[in-house]
């Protein structure tokens, strides 16, 4: 139950999440991965609390709240994107080469 195990897992999750965000073209999956990354951070903080830093859990609460807010806005953006361009693909929003 030592924290390094937790840290390892959270690193792995974070790496996967980060790769996912950049790899996927569909905004929805980017948001999903993003959430995953936020959780990975939470996990790392819990590992820290395991190592004695009680505030770790507190900060996880904060991260959680922020992530929730972020999802709300993310979904909002997703909705407007789909509403405007009928497809959640991010590349539609690239600035065309002048």
């Amino acid at each position: 139950m030592n924290p390094t195990l937790y840290l390892l897992l959270s690193l792995l999750l974070f790496g996967l999440g980060a790769a996912g965000v950049v790899l996927r073209r569909n905004t929805l999956f980017m948001l999903l991965n993003l959430e995953l990354m936020m959780n990975a951070v939470g996990l790392a903080l819990v590992a820290a609390s395991l190592a004695g830093l009680l505030e770790g859990q507190l900060i996880v609460l904060m991260v959680l709240a922020v992530a929730a807010a972020e999802v709300a806005i993310g979904i909002g953006i997703l909705v407007s994107m789909v509403r405007l361009k009928d497809s959640p693909l991010v590349d539609l929003w690239n600035r065309e080469e002048p």
């Binding site: 965000v21 073209r25 690239n94 600035r95 065309e96």
Partner: protein, 630 residues
């Protein structure tokens, strides 16, 4: 004393404001506030004339510019010189004001005219009363401004507005020199106040030799500009575009004499550097002769008078140049009266002929305009320097002084100019007043000017006769002893040669004058050697004089030309290439670097994310490298 001076100074200012700003109610009656203001000023000046004592009265009203050590007070410096100048300025102004009521009657700009005139009197008094060079300069500029406004009074006329501009610009050139003079004075003496400067110069004269030369030269440059000496005289003949009373007041009696007054006021500086005095005198002499020659062939009455003013100013500069400051001022004093008279008389002639100035079209005016004719004759006689009249005493004294101090060449030029002066004055008289009227139509309409114009003429005529008597007896005359307090008690310039001045000298100058008159008589009245014939034979010489030595053309070619060329060079070379170059250059380089980076931010959203990830990597890597967690 303070009350009188400030009253004299600020009354015209008040008049100017009343007429200028609140003048609407006075429309036709604009002359009342103006004339009253100048009248008060004149009375105050006479009062001061009577009360001025031995010691100069220095009064500081308030400090105008208190900047660090450059402290410029607004104050008066009243001594006999100031008193004389104020007396001359206010008296002539008063008479011109009265004259103008008639002359300018019915002119749409009536109110504006009197406002400017009052403003001019205020500025001239300020110039004369100032107790430091900076305030003097303010008056100097204000006077220049008023002359510009009055020359270009009928601004609809293009020639008038051009003349105004020309006068202002040429004056500015002189003023620039004047300013440099003030700077050098301030640099060396640390103050611009007369009393401190004179005090320091008096205490150890040889200490500031170099600076003094520079300062006096620059100040003289200012004087040349203002008093229309050679090379900066070109604006005065054109200044005749303005109304005649203006020419009479400004371009005969007051403004042009400012230069002479300034030199006289700084006589202490000039007497320390005799070689500069030599230069002043020679410039004065040359201008006198030069202007006289041009006056001989000119057909416009006012232009002839203008050249004659330049020539008389030349005389004054000869006097002050050679250290005879009192003689200079004396000639200034007398000249103001008879030249003012001549101009006003010419104005009256113009008034009668409805603006016709060409002498060739006139003739035989004597019978129709007796007053104007007689006063004109008296003025001409005074100017030519015949014994009983004022001109003789002042001009003769200058000639004698030149001879006494051994400047024979200047003396010779002065005598020759006296001859020419007499000649062109009587040429004018014979052409205008005697002989047969050449233009019937003008002659028919001739009528004598109204008394409001002729009365001042007669007063001035009396003055030009009587003014001279004050100065009989040179050194110990009333006038000289009076001015001694201001100009004399510092040591007079010691010239090496001191030749006795016999009676012969006086006889010579009178003879020369009579010769001039005789020549004019024979040439223009009896037409023995017909002037036209003479002109043709003179050929080149005549056309040269006629075209005023092509001086304007030369200026145009050199001064204006060079300015235009340099402007072009500056425009193309500096502005286009350098300035625009750098600006566009930076713009271009920015755009170039911008485009490089633009490719990097391709607008491809997900590449941004990638870069964030890469950034994170480096961040952590850096953290690791820098000793990791502690």
């Amino acid at each position: 004393m303070l009350w009188a001076a400030s009253l004299a100074l600020f009354a015209p200012l008040l008049g100017a404001i009343l007429n200028g700003v609140f003048g609407h109610p006075f429309r036709e009656k604009a002359h009342w506030p103006a004339v009253i203001a100048v009248g008060i000023s004149m009375l105050a000046s006479w009062w001061i004339l009577g009360r001025v004592g031995f010691e100069p009265v220095v009064l500081d009203l308030y400090t105008w510019i208190p900047v660090a050590n450059f402290v410029v007070p607004f104050g008066f410096y009243i001594d006999s010189l100031t008193a004389v100048m104020m007396g001359v300025v206010t008296t002539v102004s008063f008479l011109v004001h009265v004259y103008s009521i008639g002359y300018m009657h019915g002119d749409p700009g009536y109110r504006r005219y009197f406002a400017y005139l009052n403003l001019f009197v205020f500025s001239m008094l300020l110039l004369v009363l100032a107790n430091n060079y900076a305030l003097l300069f303010v008056g100097w500029e204000a006077v220049g401004l008023c002359s510009y406004l009055l020359i270009g009074f009928w601004y609809e006329k293009k020639s008038a507005s051009d003349a105004g501009k020309k006068a202002f610009i040429v004056n500015r050139i002189g003023d620039a020199g004047f300013l440099l003079g003030i700077f050098t004075l301030f640099a060396t003496f640390g103050s611009v106040r007369y009393d401190t400067v004179f005090q320091m110069v008096a205490s150890n004269p040889h200490l500031y030799q170099g600076a003094l030369v520079a300062a006096t030269l620059f100040l003289f440059l200012g004087a040349v500009g203002k008093s229309a000496q050679f090379p900066l005289y070109v604006w005065l003949p054109d200044a005749m575009e303005g109304p005649t009373p203006v020419s009479a007041l400004i371009h005969a009696a007051t403004m042009v004499t400012a230069g002479v007054y300034m030199v006289a006021r700084s006589h202490l500086l000039y007497s320390e550097v005799p070689q500069v005095g030599q230069l002043v005198a020679s410039v004065g002499a040359f201008t006198a002769l030069f202007a006289a020659t041009m006056a001989m062939v000119n057909d416009d009455i006012k232009r002839v008078l203008a050249y004659s003013t330049i020539s008389q100013l030349g005389y004054m500069f000869v006097a002050v140049g050679l250290g005879a400051y009192t003689a200079g001022i004396f000639h200034l004093y007398t000249h103001a009266f008879f030249k003012g008279l001549l101009f006003l008389a010419a104005g009256s002639v113009m008034h009668a002929t409805h603006g016709e100035l060409n002498m060739q079209k006139m003739g035989g005016f004597f019978r129709k305009m007796p007053h104007t004719a007689w006063t004109f004759l008296i003025g001409a006689l005074a100017l030519s320097g015949l014994p009983p009249l004022a001109g003789f005493f002042s001009k003769d004294e200058i000639i004698k002084h030149a001879y006494v101090t051994g400047h024979t060449f200047i003396w010779a030029v002065a005598v020759l100019t006296a001859l020419l002066t007499a000649f062109y004055m009587f040429r004018l008289i014979f052409l205008v007043f005697f002989g047969k009227p050449r233009d019937a139509e003008i002659y028919a309409h001739l009528h004598e000017s109204p008394p409001v114009m002729t009365v001042p003429l007669w007063i001035l005529a009396a003055a030009s006769v009587g003014a001279g008597w004050v100065g009989i007896g040179e050194e110990h005359s009333v006038f000289h002893r009076f001015l001694e307090t201001a100009l004399g008690e510092f040591h007079l310039v010691e010239w090496t040669v001191h030749r006795p001045a016999g009676v012969g000298l006086i006889a010579l100058s009178v003879g020369v004058a009579l010769l001039g008159i005789l020549l004019a008589y024979s040439l223009y009245l009896l037409r023995k050697p017909d002037p036209a014939l003479l002109a043709r034979r003179a050929g080149f010489l005549y056309t040269l004089l006629k075209r005023k030595y092509y001086v304007d053309e030369i200026y145009n070619l050199f001064v204006v030309g060079t300015l235009r060329v340099t402007a072009k060079v500056l425009f193309w070379g500096v502005d286009r290439a350098l300035v625009d170059g750098t600006v566009n250059g930076t713009g271009w380089t920015l755009a170039a670097t911008g485009s490089v980076f633009r490719r990097w931010s391709s607008g491809f959203l997900r590449s941004y994310l990638l870069w964030i990830l890469i950034g994170a990597n480096f961040l952590v890597w850096f953290l690791l490298r820098s000793g990791g967690g502690h």
